[in-house]
Point group: C2
Chain length 459, copies 2
């Protein structure tokens, strides 16, 4: 594939040196850390304004050129691969924070603002934005994949925290999906339709997000268990009794092993929970008391606690470093990152069967996750270049998804469908998929928006 000459000329005119067909830059924009082969676009543009996005969309639409929106490139299902070539819209230069509305607890940002950048900017306001996928993703990208992270059990996912979007449609219209009011019953919920649509319906050019007051007290804790059953049972009981945990994260013994090795830590190599409590001093005391009772009754040991910011960071280091540590520890492997989410009543069974399955394959596949939501990840490691092992990883992955779906769960809790889980979407939602296809056809009739993602080719 190559770019139509008139499109190239039009983009050149709009962007000057912010339009490129450089092989290196295209290759970079077609590469992620997924297990898929990279797929570079034919060109990359770096818009700075909504108007530039609109003009570029029109230039592409005129020749049916595919458009791939791109934030930080941290998604995990090949979401940014240019399967049919075309132009990648790298939105990282749209990184302005327009307005923090302190009274309304919201903020209006361009899509290229990263989550860490936002929270640094907010620091002096006493407010924060809680959604934290592993990587320092852009907020536009996070909206696109309906991302969540460690705080979702308390604060929800991007679905609950995007108040409004500005989107450039495939025909170059600029659409605002909602006003800034906290709630509305005005027509179809287009905000939620674009959240999680992975760039297949339009280009997000502005995001309005909910903010929260930084809690008076934040307490972190780590607790190891003899068995993963004890850890998971603690999660279930803590959630059910209504302790409003801010975070409750599970790392299995393999993950801890990788972290110990890479970060030179000496954590007990056991199933471990990382917790965080938010609230007033009194409220946190109460939460801790209840949670500790439950964990102790389920064989929880080696409690460690931290309240000061630096101590909390140190305590949570293992959790923060987990994915990178696994990558670094499993040298010489190709990693297949995936996630599923099941109703919490099925979580223990799903994890038990998955652990057994992993053991049977002989693969190194550490597990970690946001277990308060019933969501967990596997990092399946297959020897580089070993096709047999890669097939084993594929089969293990396949069985994991089937298992989660058979337990009324989903094939992806937070990574999205991308190019990797299209067939599983059919399995998971059946008759709903043709409805999604109708929506796609209605909103992007020429199929120029990130084609080949979420849904099978339309024709």
């Amino acid at each position: 594939m190559s770019l139509a000459q008139e499109t190239a000329a039009a983009l050149q005119k709009i962007f000057n040196d912010r339009f490129t067909t450089s092989r290196g830059i295209c290759a970079e924009h077609g590469t992620d850390i997924s297990h898929f082969e990279p797929q570079p676009p034919d060109a990359v543009v770096f818009p700075e304004t909504t108007e530039e996005v609109r003009a570029a969309v029109k230039a592409c639409a005129a020749t049916g050129t595919p458009i791939v929106p791109y934030g930080a490139g941290t998604s995990l299902e090949g979401n940014i691969h240019a399967l049919k070539g075309g132009v990648t819209f790298d939105l990282s230069r749209m990184d302005k924070i327009f307005s923090v509305n302190q009274e309304d607890l919201d903020v209006v940002v361009q899509p290229g603002v990263r989550r860490v950048q936002l929270n640094e900017y907010l620091r002096d306001t006493g407010l924060f934005f809680p959604i934290d996928p592993g990587a320092d993703a852009t907020l536009g990208g996070m909206a696109s994949t309906r991302a969540s992270g460690t705080n979702a059990v308390r604060y929800g996912t991007m679905k609950e925290n995007v108040l409004s979007l500005e989107v450039v449609t495939p025909s170059g219209e600029i659409v605002r999906t909602s006003r800034r009011a906290r709630k509305s019953s005005a027509g179809y919920d287009l905000t939620r339709l674009y959240v999680g649509s992975e760039g297949t319906l339009g280009v997000i050019t502005e995001v309005t997000l909910k903010l929260y007051g930084i809690p008076e007290t934040i307490l972190s804790a780590v607790c190891a268990f003899d068995t993963f059953e004890g850890a998971i049972q603690s999660v279930i009981e803590t959630i059910q009794i209504g302790v409003p945990l801010a975070r409750i994260e599970f790392l299995d013994e393999d993950t801890i092993k990788a972290v110990n090795h890479v970060s030179k830590l000496s954590l007990a190599e056991k199933p471990t929970l990382f917790l965080e409590f938010h609230g007033t001093a009194h409220a946190v005391d109460e939460q801790v008391k209840t949670a500790k009772e439950i964990m102790t009754a389920n064989s929880g040991k080696n409690f460690q606690w931290a309240e000061k910011a630096e101590e909390r960071t140190a305590l949570w280091q293992a959790r923060h470093d987990a994915a990178l540590s696994i990558s670094a520890y499993a040298t010489g492997t190709r990693q297949w990152w995936t996630d599923v989410c099941v109703p919490i009543s099925k979580l223990a069974a799903c994890i038990a069967e998955t652990k057994k399955d992993i053991r049977a394959t002989g693969l190194f596949a550490p597990m970690l996750g946001h277990v308060g939501d019933g969501n967990f990840h596997l990092g399946i490691c297959a020897k580089d270049g070993d096709e047999e092992e890669f097939k084993k990883a594929d089969a293990l992955h396949h069985r994991l998804i089937q298992r989660a779906v058979s337990m009324d769960g989903t094939s992806t809790g937070e990574h999205g469908i991308g190019r990797g889980k299209i067939e599983y979407l059919e399995e998971e939602l059946g008759a709903a998929v043709p409805i999604m296809r109708s929506v796609k056809r209605a909103l992007d009739p020429e199929n120029i928006m990130n084609p080949g993602k979420i849904l099978k080719p339309l024709q």
Copy 2:
């Protein structure tokens, strides 16, 4: 308009005596408490199962017969009026509660289950469902209008609390929008697309809802203020400081007057806040302390408190009775109920201008609302049969919406667009409306689902 003979025959065959063209029953199903002229359907059916809904949809679709889904008929924007005749699907007999999943904090119900019925059913489980629009609506209806109520400031609206839906599409497909996992990134968020679509995209036949543990301590309070500014300022400060109020409701002096008169109470006829605190005993103590300080500093007086269930109910009686009291008090009037929602930073200004505007018209138009969300209602009363007054009410309503939208608010916080606010939707969301229209055309190409609601006629 009248029903095609083959449709009547097909429906008769499916429903026997649960199919009717009785004038009385049709009239009843085309009448609500909105200010619009009633619009009866040509027939009413009373399905009991999803399969019956599917068969009936197919029978209607075969002749392009309009379908109006109907729950309890408590919506306020003419949402259930059969503008183009056709068949009303009265879903009130689909009132089964299928399964309470206590570990997962969710419940699966038929759409005709009412909110009070659900909470009665849940009583022994220690769980509850918090969304409470004024009327005892059905859960299918509440999903359809994206309803909220007094608890939304803490627990969210139907948008946040519907986990999954089963929907019969206009072509008679049965679609499940999501699995029962707490979160998912699997494809377009069809759940949120159907929530708030007011029956214009399909018939909801099953609803999976989130549940919550009944808090250890519930404390209710009432507090009167010399000025509405004091009341609203208290709301703003309490929300900003992060007190996790379960409810914070505003009733103006006219509303209190109506309640005093009808319910023989003797509340101070002043701007009043009704509050509720949920949590552990300690947490509630802390919340109350902070809230009381803020309210006192803003001229809050006449505090009343209640913790026991019956006392709380008595204390909140004025709030619960408010809408009915206004109707009863303003005898001989036609009432125009409306709601808007603005960012909370604009709430004081919006209320001040609206109060001034009401005074200038000379109309009786009590105000009450879920001010923690920036959402308030007016019950505009115009003398029955007085066209001049009705025009004044219309103009007042018009200015209210314009004011809210100009303040980055919405034309409806929780009632929906129905037939009443179609023109305002255009004003509020502009370029987003054609997108909604595309979605409608894609999912209901023959425009048989509740035609004439939310969007202008398609052709």
